[in-house]
């Protein structure tokens, strides 16, 4: 995975996490119930209100976790450790999806941010397949 690929993925995922933190800032950091008092997306309109609440619904802690994953994408993509970290991200997203219901769940996670978390995990796992990068060439040489 080239430096440009890693940067594009990491920055996009990190921006998503930042917007999520801001949007859910009025809820508890580690809330297990869904945000009711929104920043940015509080309007009673389809867009940006309903769209934003659907796309960025979660908690500050989940936003931080997504930023951490973005940092790990930048640091680990293309290394063998990326497989384990990516696998953990996908597994955690699936567990939270299983726990999803109307009353809330761990980290107040709605399916949308879990989809982003799982997609980031998939990218991390697959980055270990890439032989075009310096990291990949080093691995192939060994």
């Amino acid at each position: 995975m080239t430096r440009r690929y890693r940067a594009a993925y990491a920055v996009t995922v990190a921006l998503y996490g930042v917007v999520m933190i801001v949007a859910n800032a009025r809820n508890d950091v580690l809330s297990s119930t869904y945000t009711r008092d929104w920043v940015l997306f509080g309007g009673a309109n389809d867009i940006p209100g309903d769209f934003g609440r659907n796309v960025f619904g979660g908690s500050v802690a989940l936003g931080v976790l997504i930023i951490v994953i973005a940092g790990l994408m930048w640091q680990l993509a293309g290394r063998s450790a990326a497989v384990a970290v990516g696998g953990l991200a996908v597994a955690f997203a699936v567990v939270l999806l299983v726990l999803y219901d109307a009353d809330g769940n761990l980290l107040a996670a709605r399916p949308a941010p879990l989809g982003v978390l799982a997609a980031a995990g998939v990218v991390l796992i697959s980055s270990a397949l890439d032989d075009r990068t310096d990291r990949g060439r080093d691995r192939a040489a060994r």
């Binding site: 769209f51 999806l97 399916p111 982003v116 997609a119 998939v122 697959s126």
Partner: protein, 180 residues
């Protein structure tokens, strides 16, 4: 099909056809648009009752009932009434899982062509259920199908997507290669 189209283009325009290319950013943009489409809609399929309670029917439940009452095709309405509605929880989880999978595949660019076909099928299923419902615009569903066909045609996971990494592998099974 290709030969038929070639014969429909005059000789002087053959060069233009061969020069037709798509900028990778355009393909990535369409793929991410399709991903965000599902991302913004997966959340309101809420388990375990998917909107059905003793007092009311909202959310997914309401759309299933709309499909049973005003489905586009009679056999589809029968299916919604007699198969889907009585097993709403099963189909609700199936819908949640399908749309979550679409989010993951389209955003990461993994098996994008297969995901595009799944997305087109899911769009068609939703359209057949609710296109005639009050306040719905049936063109929405035709455009959703068109979006997924465009993602399929461009093999949009090969640009800034996991498919680009997968396709480097010479030992990739034929079916998986096709799905990318």
């Amino acid at each position: 099909m290709s030969l038929w189209f070639d014969q429909c283009v005059t000789e002087q325009d053959q060069g233009t056809v061969q020069a037709l290319t798509v900028h990778p950013a355009f393909a990535v943009g369409l793929r991410l648009t399709a991903g965000v489409l599902w991302l913004s809609n997966v959340g309101w399929k809420v388990p375990p009752d998917f909107g059905r309670s003793a007092e009311r029917c909202s959310g997914l439940c309401r759309f299933v009932e709309e499909g049973a009452d005003r489905g586009v095709l009679a056999p589809w309405a029968w299916l919604m009434d007699n198969v889907v509605s009585p097993q709403l929880a099963v189909f609700g989880y199936l819908t949640l899982l399908t749309e979550f999978t679409l989010v993951v595949l389209l955003l990461s660019g993994l098996l994008t062509r297969a995901a595009a076909l799944l997305g087109a099928a899911q769009s068609a299923a939703i359209g057949l259920s609710v296109a005639n419902a009050e306040g719905e615009w049936y063109w929405s569903y035709l455009l959703m199908i068109a979006l997924h066909i465009a993602v399929f045609a461009m093999a949009a996971g090969r640009f800034y997507g996991v498919d680009a990494l997968l396709r480097q592998r010479p030992d990739l099974p034929r079916l998986v290669r096709w799905a990318t």
